[in-house]
Symmetry: C2
Subunit: 322 residues, 2 copies
Amino acid sequence: MTEHSTATELVGRLVAGDRRALARAISRVENADPDLPGIMSALASRTGRARVVGLTGAPGVGKSTTTDALTRALRAQGHSVAVLAVDPSSPFSGGALLGDRIRMQEHAGDRQVYIRSMASRGHLGGLSWAAPHALRVLDAAGFDVILVETVGVGQAEVEIARHADTTLVLSAPGMGDGVQAAKAGVLEVADLLVVNKADREGAHATIRELRQMVSQGSREEQDWKPRIVSLVAARGEGVDELVDRITEHERYLRDSGMLHRRRRQRAREEIEAIALAGLRTRLGALWDGAQRQAMLDKLADQVATGGTDPYTAADTLLAELS
Amino acid sequence: MTEHSTATELVGRLVAGDRRALARAISRVENADPDLPGIMSALASRTGRARVVGLTGAPGVGKSTTTDALTRALRAQGHSVAVLAVDPSSPFSGGALLGDRIRMQEHAGDRQVYIRSMASRGHLGGLSWAAPHALRVLDAAGFDVILVETVGVGQAEVEIARHADTTLVLSAPGMGDGVQAAKAGVLEVADLLVVNKADREGAHATIRELRQMVSQGSREEQDWKPRIVSLVAARGEGVDELVDRITEHERYLRDSGMLHRRRRQRAREEIEAIALAGLRTRLGALWDGAQRQAMLDKLADQVATGGTDPYTAADTLLAELS
């Protein structure tokens, strides 16, 4: 069996609803399998249908609880739901899978819900590949809505939000000053600002603060002001309003032509990232020559001992390549 | 004044001990100033002398307390100390500077101590540049020891550890299972395993666990087993032993030739990263052409609507470039 027919076969099975094929395809994304181009090619005509909703926010604001509540509400409306929990802070896989199984228990037997954690491997560049590829796979598998939830913290949050059609930025009362600062940073990617644990003391202050930030903020899309939604995800309070707001944003995206513009921009970035990786591979191939390895070693020695700086060394190397 | 002479002048001043010039040079690193190649070139002959010690570990284990305790102990031995606190999880600068000033108060008037926080900007690639460049600047400024402390969490921890000669991985008793897993992940970069808050309940269990991990772990350098050091950084207990262990590791690095090998490897990675960025710029320049912009837009449209996959699109684009 050729590699290509394997990819086609795998895609055929996942499109037909085979969950094991789906799990395998995402594992191949996670492991940066050499077969990925074949899989993505076989998937392409099946993509572009799913709605992608991103959930981000500092640890402790209740991202998974909100994801779970949203999953239930969307299922109640008859939508199939995939949850992709991306942990950009961990280069290690496997650990989160136990969590997946626990979270799946509620939906055991419901084939219209699929929950999957994905680690993005050690390499920093890995992140920019893994999430959009996994979204393609879940999209092709036919899910109506994909909830992308970030695990962990950091700038990667913002990265992942960029893959979503609608981005929810979660906060919670009493998370301290650091969170307030973080809010300011993610505000520009937020389509909806969700204040979870809104039954806690300080909720009004948080909402007031967010409202002020929204009024001062400048967004690319001037015609959409991020809505603020109060939530008590653990008790399901406010979830229906949240779903309505998500639907409202979806309508705005479609009506304004923004949905296509966003998706095209994401596709551009994906293509550029892959093209760049292609160049990197070429560069790597050039460096495999023993002569060039020796040259790089020599340059590295010079840099390590202060004989030259890394920029001059890189110039020397690039001059050699062209 | 030409840009080059500005870089030379700035470096001249920072090498002479001008702390404002030093602060400005690091800000230029942080802001990816176009002048960086000039600065790095002017610095080169002054680098390679400082010892770089990295401190990493989950939030709450006491990284800053340990850094402060180490700073005091190293000063007591007559070494000059620079502290670089890198926050890879935050694309925002400025906030940490208040913290710097508070931490500096203890050493006010001591010109042999310099403390600086650095945010790594929004771009993921920024990380790989900022830390090694800032280390070069501090090295050229003449500090005997540079303590690199990571703020925040995640895989970036491991990245930053790679820039250090000696990497300290901190843990603390009672940090839960997640931390235990993280320990396993960072074990391969740890030269010294520091159990802070060793007066707390559970310290023995943590030490036992780490000991077991060390005995099972496989490291590149077979002849150095990560030492486990108990510490109560807040009271200064165990700090002298920690300094001794760091010195012991330094001796090992020098005697085994490992110090040069590690630094050469780091220089290789720096050169490759800069060369790759150079290629990326070239690629960007090629894409600036209106014709190619139109082509990329067309390809992105096709990918966004499922007409093709990003790999095929990237191939088409690269074929156009060569």
